[in-house]
Symmetry: C2
Subunit: 210 residues, 2 copies
DNA sequence: ATCAGTTTCAAATGCTTGTTTGAAACAGAA
DNA sequence: TTCTGTTTCAAACAAGCATTTGAAACTGAT
Protein backbone atom coordinates (compact mmCIF):
# COMPACT_ATOMS: atom_id res chain seq x y z
CA UNK A 1 0.00 0.00 0.00
CA UNK A 2 1.40 3.34 -1.01
CA UNK A 3 0.73 6.71 0.57
CA UNK A 4 -0.59 9.46 -1.70
CA UNK A 5 2.68 11.35 -1.42
CA UNK A 6 4.62 8.33 -2.56
CA UNK A 7 2.38 7.80 -5.56
CA UNK A 8 2.95 11.44 -6.42
CA UNK A 9 6.70 10.90 -6.27
CA UNK A 10 6.48 7.80 -8.38
CA UNK A 11 4.41 9.55 -11.02
CA UNK A 12 6.50 12.68 -10.82
CA UNK A 13 8.22 12.29 -14.18
CA UNK A 14 4.89 11.48 -15.78
CA UNK A 15 3.36 14.70 -14.47
CA UNK A 16 6.38 16.74 -15.41
CA UNK A 17 6.23 15.26 -18.88
CA UNK A 18 2.56 16.19 -19.26
CA UNK A 19 3.14 19.77 -18.18
CA UNK A 20 6.20 20.28 -20.35
CA UNK A 21 4.47 18.62 -23.28
CA UNK A 22 1.50 20.99 -22.95
CA UNK A 23 3.80 23.99 -23.17
CA UNK A 24 5.86 22.71 -26.06
CA UNK A 25 2.93 21.38 -28.11
CA UNK A 26 1.19 24.73 -27.74
CA UNK A 27 4.30 26.72 -28.67
CA UNK A 28 5.30 24.63 -31.65
CA UNK A 29 2.36 22.46 -32.62
CA UNK A 30 2.40 18.68 -32.69
CA UNK A 31 4.82 18.10 -35.55
CA UNK A 32 7.29 20.86 -34.81
CA UNK A 33 7.42 19.88 -31.16
CA UNK A 34 10.24 17.42 -30.50
CA UNK A 35 10.27 14.84 -27.75
CA UNK A 36 13.79 15.94 -26.98
CA UNK A 37 12.70 19.48 -26.14
CA UNK A 38 9.81 18.15 -24.08
CA UNK A 39 11.99 15.80 -22.07
CA UNK A 40 14.72 18.38 -21.60
CA UNK A 41 12.22 20.93 -20.32
CA UNK A 42 10.77 18.28 -18.01
CA UNK A 43 14.26 17.31 -16.86
CA UNK A 44 13.80 13.66 -17.70
CA UNK A 45 15.26 11.18 -20.12
CA UNK A 46 14.06 10.90 -23.73
CA UNK A 47 12.98 7.32 -23.23
CA UNK A 48 10.52 8.39 -20.56
CA UNK A 49 8.04 9.35 -23.27
CA UNK A 50 8.00 5.82 -24.61
CA UNK A 51 7.90 4.32 -21.14
CA UNK A 52 5.06 6.37 -19.61
CA UNK A 53 3.17 6.84 -22.86
CA UNK A 54 3.40 4.62 -25.87
CA UNK A 55 4.75 7.30 -28.17
CA UNK A 56 4.61 11.00 -29.00
CA UNK A 57 1.07 10.75 -30.42
CA UNK A 58 -0.30 9.12 -27.26
CA UNK A 59 1.35 11.83 -25.18
CA UNK A 60 -0.42 14.46 -27.27
CA UNK A 61 -3.79 12.75 -26.86
CA UNK A 62 -3.44 12.69 -23.09
CA UNK A 63 -2.36 16.33 -23.00
CA UNK A 64 -5.39 17.38 -25.04
CA UNK A 65 -7.76 15.38 -22.87
CA UNK A 66 -6.35 16.90 -19.68
CA UNK A 67 -6.71 20.31 -21.29
CA UNK A 68 -10.36 19.70 -22.03
CA UNK A 69 -11.19 18.28 -18.62
CA UNK A 70 -9.43 21.16 -16.92
CA UNK A 71 -11.41 23.75 -18.86
CA UNK A 72 -14.67 22.09 -17.79
CA UNK A 73 -14.10 23.08 -14.21
CA UNK A 74 -14.08 26.78 -14.93
CA UNK A 75 -16.55 29.21 -16.42
CA UNK A 76 -18.97 31.85 -15.26
CA UNK A 77 -22.31 31.46 -13.50
CA UNK A 78 -24.57 28.72 -14.80
CA UNK A 79 -27.92 29.80 -16.21
CA UNK A 80 -30.95 29.13 -14.02
CA UNK A 81 -34.21 27.65 -15.25
CA UNK A 82 -36.30 30.69 -14.54
CA UNK A 83 -33.93 33.18 -16.15
CA UNK A 84 -35.03 35.19 -19.13
CA UNK A 85 -33.50 34.43 -22.52
CA UNK A 86 -31.61 37.72 -22.27
CA UNK A 87 -29.96 36.65 -19.01
CA UNK A 88 -29.16 33.22 -20.38
CA UNK A 89 -27.49 34.81 -23.38
CA UNK A 90 -25.30 36.79 -21.02
CA UNK A 91 -24.51 33.63 -19.06
CA UNK A 92 -23.59 31.86 -22.26
CA UNK A 93 -21.21 34.58 -23.41
CA UNK A 94 -19.76 34.84 -19.92
CA UNK A 95 -19.16 31.12 -19.57
CA UNK A 96 -17.78 30.79 -23.07
CA UNK A 97 -15.34 33.67 -22.75
CA UNK A 98 -14.17 32.48 -19.35
CA UNK A 99 -13.54 29.06 -20.81
CA UNK A 100 -11.50 30.57 -23.61
CA UNK A 101 -9.63 33.32 -21.81
CA UNK A 102 -9.61 32.60 -18.08
CA UNK A 103 -6.21 33.72 -16.73
CA UNK A 104 -5.99 30.70 -14.44
CA UNK A 105 -6.09 28.57 -17.51
CA UNK A 106 -2.57 27.99 -18.78
CA UNK A 107 -2.09 30.05 -21.91
CA UNK A 108 -1.08 27.01 -23.92
CA UNK A 109 -4.53 25.48 -23.62
CA UNK A 110 -6.06 28.24 -25.72
CA UNK A 111 -3.23 27.95 -28.19
CA UNK A 112 -3.78 24.23 -28.55
CA UNK A 113 -7.43 24.81 -29.37
CA UNK A 114 -6.51 27.45 -31.91
CA UNK A 115 -4.11 25.03 -33.53
CA UNK A 116 -6.78 22.35 -33.75
CA UNK A 117 -8.87 24.89 -35.61
CA UNK A 118 -6.37 25.41 -38.41
CA UNK A 119 -4.82 21.96 -38.41
CA UNK A 120 -7.57 19.65 -37.22
CA UNK A 121 -6.54 16.27 -35.85
CA UNK A 122 -8.78 13.38 -34.86
CA UNK A 123 -8.95 14.94 -31.42
CA UNK A 124 -11.08 17.79 -32.78
CA UNK A 125 -13.96 15.50 -33.81
CA UNK A 126 -14.19 14.14 -30.28
CA UNK A 127 -13.97 17.65 -28.85
CA UNK A 128 -16.81 18.92 -31.03
CA UNK A 129 -19.15 16.07 -30.15
CA UNK A 130 -18.39 15.94 -26.44
CA UNK A 131 -18.09 19.59 -25.60
CA UNK A 132 -18.82 22.09 -28.33
CA UNK A 133 -22.07 20.66 -29.70
CA UNK A 134 -23.82 20.68 -26.30
CA UNK A 135 -22.80 24.32 -25.81
CA UNK A 136 -23.97 25.10 -29.30
CA UNK A 137 -27.40 23.58 -28.61
CA UNK A 138 -27.81 25.80 -25.56
CA UNK A 139 -27.17 28.87 -27.67
CA UNK A 140 -29.58 27.70 -30.36
CA UNK A 141 -32.37 27.40 -27.81
CA UNK A 142 -31.67 30.87 -26.47
CA UNK A 143 -31.73 32.40 -29.93
CA UNK A 144 -34.84 30.47 -30.86
CA UNK A 145 -36.62 32.00 -27.89
CA UNK A 146 -35.27 35.50 -28.49
CA UNK A 147 -36.50 35.51 -32.06
CA UNK A 148 -39.84 33.91 -31.18
CA UNK A 149 -39.15 30.94 -33.45
CA UNK A 150 -40.06 33.01 -36.51
CA UNK A 151 -36.77 32.47 -38.33
CA UNK A 152 -35.51 29.56 -40.42
CA UNK A 153 -32.95 27.17 -38.97
CA UNK A 154 -30.32 28.61 -41.29
CA UNK A 155 -30.91 32.10 -40.02
CA UNK A 156 -30.76 30.88 -36.43
CA UNK A 157 -27.39 29.31 -37.18
CA UNK A 158 -26.05 32.51 -38.62
CA UNK A 159 -27.13 34.46 -35.55
CA UNK A 160 -25.44 31.88 -33.36
CA UNK A 161 -22.28 32.11 -35.45
CA UNK A 162 -22.27 35.88 -35.07
CA UNK A 163 -22.33 35.54 -31.29
CA UNK A 164 -19.73 32.81 -31.11
CA UNK A 165 -17.41 34.44 -33.63
CA UNK A 166 -17.07 37.57 -31.51
CA UNK A 167 -15.85 35.43 -28.61
CA UNK A 168 -13.51 33.28 -30.65
CA UNK A 169 -11.96 36.38 -32.19
CA UNK A 170 -10.19 37.21 -28.95
CA UNK A 171 -8.80 33.69 -28.79
CA UNK A 172 -7.81 33.07 -32.38
CA UNK A 173 -6.81 36.49 -33.66
CA UNK A 174 -4.84 37.83 -30.76
CA UNK A 175 -1.72 38.24 -32.94
CA UNK A 176 -3.76 40.45 -35.24
CA UNK A 177 -5.22 42.53 -32.40
CA UNK A 178 -1.86 43.07 -30.79
CA UNK A 179 -0.28 44.23 -34.03
CA UNK A 180 -3.15 46.57 -34.88
CA UNK A 181 -3.42 48.12 -31.43
CA UNK A 182 -0.20 47.56 -29.47
CA UNK A 183 -1.87 49.32 -26.55
CA UNK A 184 -4.25 46.38 -26.15
CA UNK A 185 -1.31 44.01 -25.86
CA UNK A 186 -0.18 45.83 -22.74
CA UNK A 187 -3.55 46.63 -21.24
CA UNK A 188 -6.10 44.17 -22.61
CA UNK A 189 -9.78 44.64 -21.78
CA UNK A 190 -11.09 42.55 -18.91
CA UNK A 191 -13.22 39.53 -19.64
CA UNK A 192 -16.13 41.31 -17.95
CA UNK A 193 -15.80 44.23 -20.37
CA UNK A 194 -15.80 41.84 -23.30
CA UNK A 195 -18.84 40.01 -21.98
CA UNK A 196 -20.70 43.28 -21.51
CA UNK A 197 -19.87 44.45 -25.02
CA UNK A 198 -20.59 41.20 -26.85
CA UNK A 199 -23.84 40.67 -24.95
CA UNK A 200 -25.13 44.16 -25.69
CA UNK A 201 -23.99 44.03 -29.31
CA UNK A 202 -25.55 40.63 -29.97
CA UNK A 203 -28.77 41.24 -28.11
CA UNK A 204 -29.50 44.42 -30.05
CA UNK A 205 -28.74 42.65 -33.32
CA UNK A 206 -30.82 39.55 -32.53
CA UNK A 207 -33.77 41.64 -31.43
CA UNK A 208 -33.64 43.50 -34.72
CA UNK A 209 -33.43 40.29 -36.76
CA UNK A 210 -36.47 39.31 -38.80
CA UNK B 1 16.36 39.17 -76.88
CA UNK B 2 13.79 36.65 -75.79
CA UNK B 3 10.14 36.50 -76.77
CA UNK B 4 7.62 36.53 -73.93
CA UNK B 5 6.65 32.95 -74.70
CA UNK B 6 10.26 31.83 -74.42
CA UNK B 7 10.71 33.54 -71.09
CA UNK B 8 7.57 31.79 -69.94
CA UNK B 9 9.03 28.44 -70.97
CA UNK B 10 12.32 29.18 -69.28
CA UNK B 11 10.58 30.12 -66.05
CA UNK B 12 8.12 27.28 -66.31
CA UNK B 13 9.58 25.16 -63.55
CA UNK B 14 9.77 28.23 -61.34
CA UNK B 15 6.07 28.95 -61.81
CA UNK B 16 5.11 25.34 -61.34
CA UNK B 17 7.14 25.29 -58.16
CA UNK B 18 5.38 28.37 -56.81
CA UNK B 19 1.92 26.96 -57.52
CA UNK B 20 2.67 23.54 -56.07
CA UNK B 21 4.36 25.13 -53.06
CA UNK B 22 1.29 27.27 -52.38
CA UNK B 23 -0.91 24.19 -52.31
CA UNK B 24 1.40 22.11 -50.16
CA UNK B 25 2.31 24.87 -47.70
CA UNK B 26 -1.38 25.56 -47.18
CA UNK B 27 -2.27 21.90 -46.73
CA UNK B 28 0.55 21.02 -44.40
CA UNK B 29 2.02 24.22 -43.05
CA UNK B 30 5.60 25.30 -43.53
CA UNK B 31 7.38 22.69 -41.46
CA UNK B 32 5.23 19.70 -42.33
CA UNK B 33 5.46 20.54 -46.00
CA UNK B 34 8.35 18.70 -47.61
CA UNK B 35 10.40 19.89 -50.54
CA UNK B 36 9.98 16.45 -52.03
CA UNK B 37 6.20 16.64 -52.11
CA UNK B 38 6.33 20.13 -53.60
CA UNK B 39 8.75 19.14 -56.34
CA UNK B 40 6.91 15.91 -57.09
CA UNK B 41 3.60 17.74 -57.41
CA UNK B 42 5.29 20.30 -59.66
CA UNK B 43 6.90 17.54 -61.70
CA UNK B 44 10.43 18.87 -61.28
CA UNK B 45 13.59 17.76 -59.56
CA UNK B 46 14.20 18.32 -55.85
CA UNK B 47 17.23 20.47 -56.55
CA UNK B 48 15.08 22.97 -58.44
CA UNK B 49 14.03 24.54 -55.16
CA UNK B 50 17.61 25.35 -54.28
CA UNK B 51 18.37 26.56 -57.78
CA UNK B 52 15.41 28.90 -58.36
CA UNK B 53 15.09 29.91 -54.72
CA UNK B 54 17.83 29.77 -52.16
CA UNK B 55 16.07 27.29 -49.94
CA UNK B 56 12.69 26.18 -48.63
CA UNK B 57 12.30 29.31 -46.48
CA UNK B 58 12.88 31.67 -49.41
CA UNK B 59 10.35 29.71 -51.45
CA UNK B 60 7.82 30.22 -48.65
CA UNK B 61 8.48 33.96 -48.52
CA UNK B 62 7.88 34.34 -52.25
CA UNK B 63 4.70 32.27 -52.10
CA UNK B 64 3.32 34.44 -49.32
CA UNK B 65 4.15 37.64 -51.19
CA UNK B 66 2.43 36.40 -54.35
CA UNK B 67 -0.57 35.44 -52.26
CA UNK B 68 -0.85 38.93 -50.81
CA UNK B 69 -0.45 40.71 -54.15
CA UNK B 70 -3.02 38.46 -55.75
CA UNK B 71 -5.62 39.13 -53.09
CA UNK B 72 -5.31 42.88 -53.67
CA UNK B 73 -6.79 42.58 -57.14
CA UNK B 74 -10.15 41.26 -55.97
CA UNK B 75 -12.91 42.44 -53.71
CA UNK B 76 -16.39 43.84 -53.99
CA UNK B 77 -17.54 47.29 -55.10
CA UNK B 78 -15.51 50.20 -53.81
CA UNK B 79 -17.34 52.71 -51.62
CA UNK B 80 -18.14 56.06 -53.21
CA UNK B 81 -17.55 59.43 -51.57
CA UNK B 82 -21.19 60.39 -51.41
CA UNK B 83 -22.39 57.09 -49.95
CA UNK B 84 -24.00 56.99 -46.55
CA UNK B 85 -22.14 55.37 -43.68
CA UNK B 86 -24.62 52.49 -43.84
CA UNK B 87 -23.76 51.81 -47.48
CA UNK B 88 -20.06 52.09 -46.80
CA UNK B 89 -20.37 49.54 -44.01
CA UNK B 90 -21.97 47.16 -46.46
CA UNK B 91 -19.21 47.81 -48.98
CA UNK B 92 -16.62 47.13 -46.30
CA UNK B 93 -18.14 43.80 -45.29
CA UNK B 94 -18.61 42.87 -48.93
CA UNK B 95 -15.05 43.68 -49.92
CA UNK B 96 -13.60 42.01 -46.84
CA UNK B 97 -15.55 38.79 -47.26
CA UNK B 98 -14.76 38.63 -50.96
CA UNK B 99 -11.10 39.01 -50.14
CA UNK B 100 -11.28 36.20 -47.64
CA UNK B 101 -13.61 33.77 -49.37
CA UNK B 102 -13.72 34.59 -53.08
CA UNK B 103 -13.94 31.28 -54.97
CA UNK B 104 -11.54 32.48 -57.66
CA UNK B 105 -8.97 32.84 -54.95
CA UNK B 106 -7.11 29.57 -54.54
CA UNK B 107 -8.31 27.98 -51.33
CA UNK B 108 -4.78 27.72 -49.99
CA UNK B 109 -4.41 31.48 -49.76
CA UNK B 110 -7.05 31.69 -47.06
CA UNK B 111 -5.48 28.76 -45.27
CA UNK B 112 -2.06 30.41 -45.33
CA UNK B 113 -3.53 33.50 -43.69
CA UNK B 114 -5.20 31.39 -41.04
CA UNK B 115 -1.88 29.73 -40.33
CA UNK B 116 -0.16 33.10 -39.94
CA UNK B 117 -2.74 33.90 -37.30
CA UNK B 118 -1.85 31.00 -35.04
CA UNK B 119 1.81 30.77 -35.93
CA UNK B 120 2.82 34.31 -36.84
CA UNK B 121 5.96 34.74 -38.89
CA UNK B 122 7.71 37.98 -39.82
CA UNK B 123 5.47 38.10 -42.85
CA UNK B 124 2.48 38.91 -40.65
CA UNK B 125 3.92 42.21 -39.43
CA UNK B 126 4.36 43.39 -42.99
CA UNK B 127 0.89 42.19 -43.89
CA UNK B 128 -0.73 44.09 -41.02
CA UNK B 129 1.01 47.36 -41.83
CA UNK B 130 0.61 47.24 -45.60
CA UNK B 131 -2.84 45.78 -45.97
CA UNK B 132 -4.85 45.23 -42.81
CA UNK B 133 -4.28 48.55 -41.03
CA UNK B 134 -5.52 50.65 -43.97
CA UNK B 135 -8.67 48.52 -44.14
CA UNK B 136 -9.06 48.83 -40.40
CA UNK B 137 -8.89 52.63 -40.60
CA UNK B 138 -11.69 52.69 -43.14
CA UNK B 139 -13.90 50.72 -40.78
CA UNK B 140 -13.04 52.95 -37.85
CA UNK B 141 -14.18 56.01 -39.79
CA UNK B 142 -17.45 54.33 -40.75
CA UNK B 143 -18.16 53.36 -37.15
CA UNK B 144 -17.18 56.79 -35.90
CA UNK B 145 -19.79 58.31 -38.21
CA UNK B 146 -22.47 55.75 -37.39
CA UNK B 147 -22.15 56.39 -33.67
CA UNK B 148 -21.92 60.14 -34.08
CA UNK B 149 -18.47 60.23 -32.45
CA UNK B 150 -20.04 59.92 -29.02
CA UNK B 151 -18.11 56.80 -28.00
CA UNK B 152 -14.61 56.34 -26.65
CA UNK B 153 -11.87 55.03 -28.91
CA UNK B 154 -11.88 51.74 -27.00
CA UNK B 155 -15.57 51.25 -27.60
CA UNK B 156 -15.11 52.06 -31.28
CA UNK B 157 -12.41 49.39 -31.47
CA UNK B 158 -14.66 46.82 -29.89
CA UNK B 159 -17.44 47.58 -32.35
CA UNK B 160 -14.96 47.23 -35.19
CA UNK B 161 -13.74 43.93 -33.77
CA UNK B 162 -17.30 42.64 -33.62
CA UNK B 163 -17.77 43.37 -37.31
CA UNK B 164 -14.44 41.94 -38.40
CA UNK B 165 -14.71 38.87 -36.20
CA UNK B 166 -17.93 37.74 -37.86
CA UNK B 167 -16.16 37.78 -41.24
CA UNK B 168 -13.00 36.07 -40.04
CA UNK B 169 -15.06 33.33 -38.42
CA UNK B 170 -15.93 31.88 -41.81
CA UNK B 171 -12.26 31.85 -42.74
CA UNK B 172 -10.65 30.61 -39.53
CA UNK B 173 -13.23 28.31 -38.03
CA UNK B 174 -14.43 26.43 -41.05
CA UNK B 175 -13.40 23.07 -39.50
CA UNK B 176 -15.63 23.88 -36.55
CA UNK B 177 -18.58 24.92 -38.72
CA UNK B 178 -18.33 21.83 -40.89
CA UNK B 179 -18.27 19.50 -37.90
CA UNK B 180 -21.15 21.23 -36.16
CA UNK B 181 -23.38 21.46 -39.22
CA UNK B 182 -22.24 18.96 -41.86
CA UNK B 183 -24.98 20.28 -44.11
CA UNK B 184 -23.08 23.58 -44.42
CA UNK B 185 -20.02 21.72 -45.64
CA UNK B 186 -21.97 20.48 -48.64
CA UNK B 187 -24.09 23.54 -49.31
CA UNK B 188 -22.35 26.58 -47.80
CA UNK B 189 -24.14 29.94 -47.79
CA UNK B 190 -23.20 32.30 -50.60
CA UNK B 191 -20.94 35.24 -49.88
CA UNK B 192 -23.85 37.54 -50.67
CA UNK B 193 -25.97 35.86 -47.98
CA UNK B 194 -23.16 36.26 -45.46
CA UNK B 195 -22.71 39.93 -46.40
CA UNK B 196 -26.42 40.55 -45.99
CA UNK B 197 -26.51 38.87 -42.60
CA UNK B 198 -23.36 40.41 -41.14
CA UNK B 199 -24.30 43.88 -42.39
CA UNK B 200 -27.80 43.74 -40.92
CA UNK B 201 -26.58 42.20 -37.66
CA UNK B 202 -23.79 44.74 -37.20
CA UNK B 203 -25.78 47.78 -38.25
CA UNK B 204 -28.54 47.07 -35.75
CA UNK B 205 -26.00 46.52 -32.99
CA UNK B 206 -23.95 49.64 -33.80
CA UNK B 207 -27.06 51.80 -33.95
CA UNK B 208 -28.06 50.54 -30.52
CA UNK B 209 -24.59 51.17 -29.06
CA UNK B 210 -24.23 54.01 -26.62
C1' DA C 1 30.81 23.17 -84.84
C1' DT C 2 32.19 25.06 -80.88
C1' DC C 3 31.67 27.38 -76.83
C1' DA C 4 29.88 29.57 -72.48
C1' DG C 5 26.09 30.06 -69.69
C1' DT C 6 21.88 28.25 -67.91
C1' DT C 7 18.90 24.75 -66.29
C1' DT C 8 17.86 19.99 -64.91
C1' DC C 9 18.73 15.76 -62.67
C1' DA C 10 20.05 11.33 -59.88
C1' DA C 11 22.68 10.38 -56.26
C1' DA C 12 24.90 11.34 -52.06
C1' DT C 13 25.62 14.00 -47.64
C1' DG C 14 24.78 15.38 -43.17
C1' DC C 15 21.54 16.49 -39.85
C1' DT C 16 17.38 15.89 -36.94
C1' DT C 17 13.81 13.17 -35.76
C1' DG C 18 11.04 9.33 -33.06
C1' DT C 19 11.97 5.11 -31.19
C1' DT C 20 14.48 1.09 -29.16
C1' DT C 21 17.73 -1.18 -26.25
C1' DG C 22 20.18 -3.16 -22.47
C1' DA C 23 22.24 -1.95 -18.50
C1' DA C 24 22.02 0.47 -14.20
C1' DA C 25 19.57 2.42 -10.15
C1' DC C 26 15.98 1.97 -7.10
C1' DA C 27 12.16 0.19 -4.23
C1' DG C 28 9.82 -3.03 -1.27
C1' DA C 29 9.34 -8.03 0.22
C1' DA C 30 11.19 -12.25 1.95
C1' DT D 1 21.23 -9.68 2.26
C1' DT D 2 18.91 -11.36 -1.73
C1' DC D 3 15.39 -11.31 -4.94
C1' DT D 4 11.81 -9.14 -7.99
C1' DG D 5 9.57 -5.79 -10.32
C1' DT D 6 9.69 -0.94 -11.59
C1' DT D 7 11.71 3.17 -13.26
C1' DT D 8 15.57 5.81 -15.28
C1' DC D 9 19.26 6.54 -18.36
C1' DA D 10 23.08 6.96 -22.05
C1' DA D 11 23.78 5.26 -26.24
C1' DA D 12 22.50 3.51 -30.53
C1' DC D 13 19.20 2.82 -34.42
C1' DA D 14 16.52 3.64 -38.46
C1' DA D 15 13.88 6.80 -41.15
C1' DG D 16 13.00 11.19 -43.12
C1' DC D 17 14.46 15.56 -43.97
C1' DA D 18 16.76 19.79 -46.49
C1' DT D 19 20.55 20.58 -48.94
C1' DT D 20 24.72 19.81 -51.91
C1' DT D 21 27.16 18.03 -55.73
C1' DG D 22 28.94 17.12 -60.16
C1' DA D 23 27.65 15.58 -64.37
C1' DA D 24 24.45 15.82 -68.15
C1' DA D 25 21.20 18.28 -71.19
C1' DC D 26 19.96 22.27 -73.24
C1' DT D 27 20.27 27.21 -75.06
C1' DG D 28 21.68 30.92 -77.92
C1' DA D 29 25.80 33.22 -79.65
C1' DT D 30 30.19 33.08 -81.96
Amino acid sequence: MLAAAEIAVIQDTRRRLLFAAGEVFAERGFHQATVREITERAGVNVAAVNYHFRDKAELYRVVLKECHCHSESMGGPMPVEGDTAEDRLRCFVDAFLHRLLHPDRPAWQGLLMAREMTQPTDALDALVEECIRPCSRDLEVIIHELTGGKLSKDREWMLAFSVVSQCLFYLHDRPLIERLYPKLAIQPPTIEQLVEHIHAFSLAAIRAAQ
